[in-house]
């Protein structure tokens, strides 16, 4: 259950916390088994994502993955965002302890759902 530095740093300083009232797109995902929850909000520019915010409830990597994502998304194209895979996110987070993969799954699900619900 050792968390990476990246994960711990995001826990201590979560980025872009909150609900974006003028978001272009938004999704809320829940892991029904454990109750973890992520809300993700994205604002899109012409070609790129301008900003993202989040709320997250659950264990450490759920919070940190959501926080990490909001930073990572800034400046990415939709295509780049859509192509982010769970394993890539995990390696960006410098790994996850055994049994915690579901946090990255949930974050990616939140991302996909937010992108999907974007109607430009």
């Amino acid at each position: 259950m050792q968390y990476s530095k990246v994960i711990l740093e995001h826990l201590e300083n979560p980025r872009n916390v909150g609900e974006m009232i003028d978001a272009d797109s938004f999704a809320e995902v829940v892991n029904n088994a454990c109750g973890d929850k992520i809300k993700l909000f994205i604002k899109f520019g012409d070609k790129q994502i301008i900003s993202a915010t989040m709320k997250a409830y659950g264990c450490v990597p759920t919070i940190s993955a959501a926080s990490f994502l909001t930073e990572w998304l800034k400046g990415k194209t939709i295509k780049e965002a859509v192509n982010l895979e769970v394993d890539e996110l995990i390696s960006l987070l410098e790994g996850l302890p055994r049994g915690k993969r579901h946090a990255a799954d949930l974050a990616i699900e939140a991302l996909q759902r937010t992108l999907l619900s974007y109607k430009p």
């Binding site: 711990l8 826990l11 979560p14 609900e19 974006m20 809320e28 088994a33 454990c34 409830y57 659950g58």
Partner: protein, 405 residues
């Protein structure tokens, strides 16, 4: 990570394990280096080891009001529970098939009962109530002609509630006037050294204790077994421990356990003052942090445990965030492989899922200081606020941050 004015990290997870007392280590050392004989050997190396074990057995017996021969050394609290529950059940199987325990026992008892169920025993799991206590009436009405064993823990490891063992012990004695083969075991792993434990006063036939919970070594524990109560040994082999537990005796650890027992006895009265520190923590947390809930009966509980649920946030996240501040506590929530196993104790006490997940246990030892508690109070509110700010469950309007880009 930790403020420099603190001498070291703050450890408030003493119900999980405690620091070895320096006196205990000092007592153990000679048995590692010089007096390393096998206590079953008849030469002087062996006899010295044996003598030290005898002394430790006396010390442990004295702590809980037992006789010398009523103490069986085992490898820890878990093994003590296994030996008591499985050992008694197997031995008296011909007398009956029914076991009574509670919903909130430690896994060492609960899972052992579950494994006995697979072998055909019938097990009644008594409910506990909101206050974290079983009711003597429930025990009474669960007893049947077929009951051979009742196992109810003395103090609960998560909320610290002290169960009405003495009353149940009285009940058992009464019933035993008519039905000889009814035995009463209590898991006192959390209570020994923290609140008075006297096997005669409690009226128990078997009692488990574990060294590392009261500044003794890990890997050693003892089972009190009242004279006349027979068990099926669970570890078979040589004739150690009067054929109740085989295996070369762990002499240094046994010596350490004896020393820890003696220290616990000496410190027991003063230990009750830990409640003042604990109550101070609870009071200040109430003052500083809204939307919290204290778990477990306020009257009948150990002086050293505070169990608090923090709404809207998850225990593990809070625990790790506090750990980053150098503060060690524990949580009733454990989320692994995408499914949370919430503390069965808190669930049994009727807490909502969310309150179970948001629970944190602070457990003190005799080494805990006011300065350490003040340190907790200096970091906890900020960490709770931070995590609540992130939480989508946090409904308070003022707390929902809204961004505009």
């Amino acid at each position: 990570m930790i403020e420099t004015y603190l001498p070291s990290r703050v450890y408030l997870d003493n119900s999980a394990s405690t620091k070895l007392a320096p006196e205990v280590l000092a007592a153990m050392l000679p048995y590692f280096t010089e007096q390393f004989g096998n206590a079953s050997s008849i030469h002087s190396f062996g006899q010295q080891a044996k003598g030290a074990m005898d002394e430790a057995r006396r010390q442990v017996a004295t702590l809980i009001g037992a006789d010398f021969n009523e103490i069986v050394f085992v490898s820890g609290g878990t093994e003590a529970d296994n030996l008591a529950v499985r050992g008694i059940a197997e031995n008296y199987r011909s007398k009956g098939n029914h076991i009574i325990t509670s919903e909130f026992e430690h896994p060492a008892v609960r899972n052992t009962c579950a494994s006995l169920e697979k072998q055909g025993f019938r097990v009644t799991y008594l409910p506990i109530y909101e206050n974290g206590l079983v009711r003597v009436e429930d025990v009474k009405s669960a007893i049947t002609e077929d009951t051979i064993l009742i196992s109810i823990m003395h103090a609960n490891n998560e909320v610290g509630t002290i169960q009405p063992i003495r009353e149940i012990g009285g009940l058992v004695k009464e019933i035993r006037l008519e039905r000889k083969h009814l035995f009463f075991h209590t898991d006192a792993v959390q209570s020994v050294g923290k609140t008075p434990v006297d096997v005669k006063l409690l009226g128990v036939d078997a009692l488990s204790l574990s060294g590392h919970k009261f500044h003794g070594p890990k890997g050693i524990g003892a089972l009190y077994l009242r004279k006349g109560v027979r068990i099926n040994p669970q570890v078979t082999g040589g004739r150690h421990e009067k054929e109740r537990r085989a295996g070369t005796e762990n002499v240094p650890a046994i010596v350490g356990l004896g020393c820890a027992a003696e220290l616990a006895k000496e410190n027991l009265l003063e230990f009750q003052n830990i409640a003042l520190l604990r109550d101070y923590l609870e009071r200040e947390i109430t003052r500083l942090i809204p939307e919290i809930k204290f778990n477990g009966d306020k009257e009948s509980r150990l002086p050293n445990i505070a169990n608090i649920s923090f709404s809207y946030i998850e225990g593990e996240a809070l625990l790790i965030a506090l750990d980053l501040k150098g503060l060690a506590v524990s949580t009733g929530s454990a989320c692994s492989s995408g499914s949370t196993e919430p503390s069965p104790v808190l669930v049994a006490m009727g807490l909502s899922k969310e309150m179970v997940r948001g629970s944190i246990r602070f457990s003190f030892s005799r080494y805990t200081t006011q300065a350490e508690v003040d340190y907790v109070l200096s970091v906890l509110p900020e960490v709770v606020t931070r995590l609540r700010r992130v939480s989508p469950l946090y409904k308070q309007a003022m707390a929902i941050e809204q961004h505009k880009y």
